[in-house]
Symmetry: C2
Amino acid sequence: MTTSLSGKELASALRQDVTARAARLTAGGTPPKLAVVVATDDEGSAWYVRSIARSAEKAGIVCDIVDLGADADRDAIADRLAELSRDRAVHGIIVQTPLPTGISAADVAGQVAVAKDVDGANPASLGRLVAGIPAFAPATAEAVVAILDHHHIGLEGVEVAVVGRSTVVGKPLAHLLLDRNATVTVCHSRTTDLPAVTSRADVVVAAVGRPSLIGADHVRSGAVVVDVGTNPTDDGGLVGDVDAGAVTGKASALTPVPGGVGPVTTALLLRHTVEAAEGQV
Amino acid sequence: MTTSLSGKELASALRQDVTARAARLTAGGTPPKLAVVVATDDEGSAWYVRSIARSAEKAGIVCDIVDLGADADRDAIADRLAELSRDRAVHGIIVQTPLPTGISAADVAGQVAVAKDVDGANPASLGRLVAGIPAFAPATAEAVVAILDHHHIGLEGVEVAVVGRSTVVGKPLAHLLLDRNATVTVCHSRTTDLPAVTSRADVVVAAVGRPSLIGADHVRSGAVVVDVGTNPTDDGGLVGDVDAGAVTGKASALTPVPGGVGPVTTALLLRHTVEAAEGQV
């Protein structure tokens, strides 16, 4: 029996809390505001940005989509991020990826004020996270821990294999898991024997962006599997990095895609925005 | 047969290079200068600071020991670090630990300019390291990789267990090892079965600060062991975290304490200082 670790219930609870806090902020004269800076005409990205904007507005958070166009240069993006960082009416800032070729997200995100960096994209936020100083974690990484907590899956002393070493998910997630006293192994494309490494773990987190990367061989019987992947399919759907069919029956629990980590990530972005408006970081 | 992975030869080669670069800088009118900020009367710390100062001066680097006293408060330390960051004659800044009770090294080190942060103590440096943006790594973490490189021990695809999750060694080291395509497990005091985890690894790095933490049970036959520990003994000596007697004969190689990671760390601090003076970061 493989339990489906849905993120919907948790996302709904988070949104409810955010909505109440946003209403209090607005009543107090500080309507929370999120700016999403976009410099791409990628359709998947446009879809994702619209979905954040809809969720924000439903929760009572003003969402400005700042579209700089797919040919924006580095300085135009960096300057706009610096300007939004100075704008007292803006509480949260997201730098949407992909960015135009040759522009590093970590570089331009260095212009996002740490106190407004609701997706933990500024390397300074990441460094604070690692050093144990208050900062917003990348929402996707935080969502992995939140969904495990919600389903009462303990992390203390547990062996977790994180597959993927990206700056936005794998690396910050490793630190969040260490903070929870998990023993953490970070694996990646150069790991010599991936199935051997992941099948030692109590919890496997797949965060690479490759469909069916994780199959039955990668998971030991009874392990918990978290699927961070969101890979578009030809028919307009979405699949994760885990071959759910192969893993079902072997894993004790698995997050679905869609409906797992994704909705929790969006809800956490909104929570970070009200926290920023409340002056928490 | 257990090979001793001495750090002396590498440290000497590094110092030679640093000495030549320092001489060029001085001849060009930019004598490289390192400031070590101290706020403790801990004897071990005083010994270490004097040893850095001696090494620096031998290499032609001016070393200022800025002793603020063991009762310095947070703002006094932070303000002095900010002032040194603005001082154009100072190229490298080290915040010596321990600091007075209640003062966080990561917090005050936030005042050290990233370009002068030769021991990677500012969380911003750490974040840049994680995000792949140029920054100085903590010298001890970098020394571990350097000593393995020097002795031709490959890291690509290799399983490394890092024991210890400190902000100054374990965590940044995990990132340096990931950058070298190792598969990295970070273990710590809450790891359920430490010998089981470490004895899976090809390379074990002990960075906790507890004598004899790593014994024969923790190391599989033929593994490479790096001992970062520097624990003072009652008779004024120094021992590592590894029970060298127990591990010798089982490990294929082991760094000695003293004479292993330590001298390489000091040499890398000096190299970072000339790099900073040359304007490399």
